[in-house]
């Protein structure tokens, strides 16, 4: 396998049977193919779709989701789950917003958001590994607990009037490209590098592929999972700055529903919900796919009430194509 560098979505799908097979063997293949089909379809259906500004705005709109999905992806690769990210984003944004209101700037609010996220993620990780409580229970509890903390901290009021410098990560542009898009792709590249070449990244796949064998091989199974949960917190903290910049305010219900969207993006992208198989490209593709569909529906004038139904259908379709693809490739794992 070409382990030398991260493939980008556009250069895949080469000629020749072998490269087609190799492409199909990739976890993100069905999602990428589906994404290509959708891009063509929406372009034909609406001439405002395929413009640089619309495409950028699509990626821009899924930056928060995509960054969180990149980290949740690692947890799912470990054969664990994290459904606490919705409330976590809310709390991180409040921490970042509050610091911003008193100090301004970027760095201190970012540190505050990341610190709060990392703490919450570390608690998740500690409860799952040391406490030996199933992750679905731990993070479900965390989801409610953090929402409760949000209400207690804010007393139900919004944070508004975030100063302009702080909002740069959400609204700024560098070299003509929006900062959220840059952050999303930057983190994507980092995670691809980590999964392909770092010890921890390799161990994530090992722990998710066979936890018992990983333990018998002397891998630090608990540490690997703990780091994955903490990483979610860190990435949620980063994402909260983008959210804060884009919205300029934080509500008590910020991030509601995001936790399941992140899981959906990972699974739609092609990472196996049972762990051990997948890639960061899968998580990114899944998030972008969600963005494209929602954007396309709006452009085509489909009422917003259809969004959830379409998203649900997409998840089921993703699972179905994954089963099909595995049969095609003859992959029984």
């Amino acid at each position: 396998m070409s382990e030398t560098r991260a493939p980008t979505p556009t250069e895949r799908g080469g000629a020749g049977g072998e490269s087609v097979r190799r492409f199909l063997a990739r976890p993100a293949a069905p999602a990428l193919a589906f994404l290509a089909v959708l891009l063509v379809a929406f372009t034909l259906a609406n001439d405002r779709f395929l413009t640089a500004s619309n495409l950028e705005s699509i990626v821009d709109s899924v930056a928060v989701l995509g960054i969180i999905a990149l980290a949740v992806n690692q947890v799912i690769l470990c054969a664990e789950i994290d459904i606490s990210t919705g409330s976590m984003l809310g709390l991180c944004a409040i921490a970042a917003g509050a610091v911003s209101l008193s100090t301004g700037g970027i760095l201190l609010p970012l540190l505050a958001g990341v610190a709060v996220g990392a703490l919450a993620g570390a608690i998740n990780g500690a409860l799952v590994t040391l406490g030996r409580i199933p992750a679905i229970i731990v993070t479900l509890g965390m989801l409610y607990a953090l929402r409760g903390v949000i209400l207690l901290v804010t007393g139900g009021t919004w944070i508004t009037g975030v100063p302009e410098p702080t909002r740069f990560l959400g609204t700024g542009k560098v070299l003509g490209i929006s900062v959220p898009v840059l952050i999303l792709f930057g983190l994507f590249l980092v995670m691809e590098l980590v999964n392909r070449h770092s010890t921890w990244g390799r161990n994530v796949f090992a722990v998710g592929g066979n936890r018992v064998a990983a333990r018998f091989a002397g891998l630090p199974v608990n540490r690997v999972r703990f780091v994955a949960f903490t990483l979610v917190g860190v990435f949620v903290g980063i994402a909260s700055m983008i959210y804060l910049g884009r919205a300029g305010s934080v509500q008590t219900n910020t991030g509601v529903g995001l936790e399941l969207q992140a899981v959906a993006a990972v699974v739609i992208g092609g990472t196996s919900i049972s762990g051990g198989r997948g890639s960061s490209l899968a998580a990114l593709t899944g998030a972008v796919l969600i963005g494209v569909i929602l954007n396309g529906l709006i452009l085509m004038g489909v009422p917003g009430i259809w969004q959830d139904a379409v998203l649900g259908g997409l998840i089921l379709l993703a699972v179905a194509t994954d089963v099909l693809r595995r049969r095609l490739v003859g992959d029984k794992a």
């Binding site: 066979n210 018992v212 990983a214 091989a217 992959d331």
Partner: protein
């Protein structure tokens, strides 16, 4: 398990016709017959062009090494697999089974090695799971009728068990009996027993033989799969030998002696299978004193020297695996001490054991030894990533390291970047061993290192073990195959019910002496086994 659950549901709505009554008469038409059967899994041929039949009232022994195709063949009879070629006939009629339920309806029952009973249900309930159960007038379960029927069935086998007892409370022997009775409730005419005595004591095995006699006198046919050759000579009428998926011979049991049988199974004389050079045991590498873990093993002492192969024999469930895993820190012991190179070592995790130079090669290759979605390379380097990596990143030299060990163990059949699942069982096992060797341990705990491995790979693994001992590694060889332990070890320890019950120098070890220590039989052969073996 879930299969079974579904069957209960189906059984209640639509009671199937149990006991189709295709009586084969007194003649010799077989109960079932396999003709020219071939079964492939991917590219691997598990069974090739095999004929096999079972006559009423006979015990037909099926022998062969692990991976010879015995289980595959019987799973075809049981409806779990469909043959790729050849046909299955039941009572002279061609039959196609799509599930064990079909086989059962045709009067064929399988009693697997790992009994498929429901431990939380009572004996009586187990007998009726998936079957038409007696009903009261109101449509509820008629428990009294069930218990009475259960007692009658067990009585016909000459056993008296409390039918209301939960199955998990029964001894291994009695569970075996319940499984047999369960087959009979389904009016089985042909019963397949896979290693029924593997977890029984000598006396319990006697009782089982009596029950088998009971069955065959009632014209039931029994297919008997076992590794214990003595048993086969004792009870079998005919013997079929499989090797590497092929039929070697089917002959009346009286025409084969033990030596001949082993030669047929292995394909060559035993002394050519095993490799052995003189070892030169050095100083003590591992010492264990009074090691205890409640319910698993108690008060175990052992010493293991450099350059020594210490065999650890015993029955399945004797606590050998638990002991090895405790030494490796997977499940730390509650009492006792472990000394490595004469120093006390507190080993609470596999990492700690590895840091002390101990490595454990687990018995379950697929579930404990390999990361199946991983490539061969990534599996080999799994345990050394932390050693070879720089600043948390895996260096390019990983590839060469993996290549070196793949070559050393002559792993064949796929590219290094292919998924490890693509390899044959024997080569997969070599990957597991390569992974441990990459860590350069001084003490190796090998748990059933040749289970499910073909003869060729077996012989290679034996040579490797011998080489490792000559290099000065201390090796603990856990094995349920007596020949393996006797042929490979410098010294042999025997465990029974969690305790060391025998120690033999190589010269003084015989099959009989080791087996006696393993089963606690003492002069077990004099027992008539009148008691029902409860403990």
């Amino acid at each position: 398990m879930s299969e079974e659950g579904k069957e209960i549901g189906r059984g209640m709505e639509q009671p199937t016709n149990i006991g189709s009554g295709t009586a084969t008469g007194d003649g010799s038409p077989p109960l079932f017959q396999l003709a020219g059967v071939t079964k492939r899994f991917g590219g691997v041929v598990a069974v090739r062009d095999v004929d096999f039949d079972l006559r009423p009232g006979e015990v037909h022994a099926l022998v062969g090494e692990n991976g010879a195709g015995k289980s595959t063949l019987m799973k075809i009879v049981d409806g779990l697999y469909a043959p790729d070629e050849g046909r299955l006939e039941v009572g002279g009629q061609p039959a196609e089974f799509s599930s064990p339920r079909d086989a059962e309806a045709a009067g064929i029952a399988m009693i697997p090695q790992e009994l498929d009973l429901f431990p939380e249900l009572s004996v009586a309930e187990n007998l009726f799971v998936g079957r038409k159960r007696p009903r009261t007038r109101w449509g509820g379960l008629d428990r009294n009728a069930m218990r009475a029927e259960a007692r009658r069935r067990l009585g016909s086998l000459g056993v008296d068990l409390d039918v209301t007892a939960r199955v998990k409370r029964l001894s291994a022997a009695n569970q075996q009996i319940v499984a047999i009775a369960r087959a009979l409730v389904g009016d089985a005419r042909a019963v397949v027993m896979d290693e029924p005595t593997s977890s029984l004591t000598d006396r319990e095995a006697r009782q089982l033989f009596r029950i088998i006699e009971e069955l065959t006198s009632g014209d039931v046919g029994v297919v008997y799969i076992s590794h214990r050759l003595e048993e086969i000579f004792e009870i079998a009428d005919r013997t079929t030998v499989l090797r590497d998926g092929r039929l070697i011979t089917t002959a009346p049991a009286s025409e084969l002696d033990a030596e001949e049988l082993v030669r047929l199974m292995v394909g060559r004389p035993l002394n050519e299978l095993f490799s052995r050079h003189p070892h030169d045991p050095g100083e003590v590498a591992l010492e264990v004193r009074g090691l205890t873990r409640e319910g698993e093993f108690a008060d175990v002492d052992l010493t293991l020297r450099r350059g020594e192969i210490l065999g650890l024999a015993g029955l399945v469930g004797a606590g050998r695996t638990e002991l090895a895993q405790a030494i490796f820190g997977i499940r730390p012991p509650e009492f006792g001490e472990i000394l490595v190179d004469g120093e006390e070592a507190r080993i609470r995790s596999p990492q700690a054991a590895m840091d002390r130079g101990i490595f454990y090669v687990p018995e379950e290759r697929r579930s404990q030894g390999l990361i199946l979605p991983f490539s061969i390379k990534n599996n080999i380097t799994l345990s050394i990533l932390d050693r070879i990596s720089r600043f948390g990143f895996v260096p390019w030299s990983e590839r060469q390291t993996a290549d070196r060990f793949a070559k050393e163990l002559s792993i064949r059949g796929a590219e290094m970047s292919d998924p490890v699942a693509r390899l044959s069982g024997g080569n997969q096992q070599k990957v597991v061993v390569a992974k441990s060797l990459a860590r350069e341990p001084s003490v190796l705990l090998l748990d059933e290192p040749t289970r499910g491995v073909d003869v060729g790979a077996k012989s290679e693994i034996y040579r490797l073990i011998d080489d490792l001992a000559r290099e000065g590694k201390a090796i603990l060889l856990i094995s349920s195959e007596l020949e393996e332990v006797l042929s490979m070890s410098d010294r042999i320890l025997v465990m029974r019910e969690g305790r060391i019950t025998g120690e033999f120098e190589r010269e003084g070890a015989t099959q009989e002496r080791v087996m006696t220590a393993a089963t606690g039989g003492g002069d077990g052969s004099n027992d008539k086994g009148e008691e029902s073996g409860d403990e």
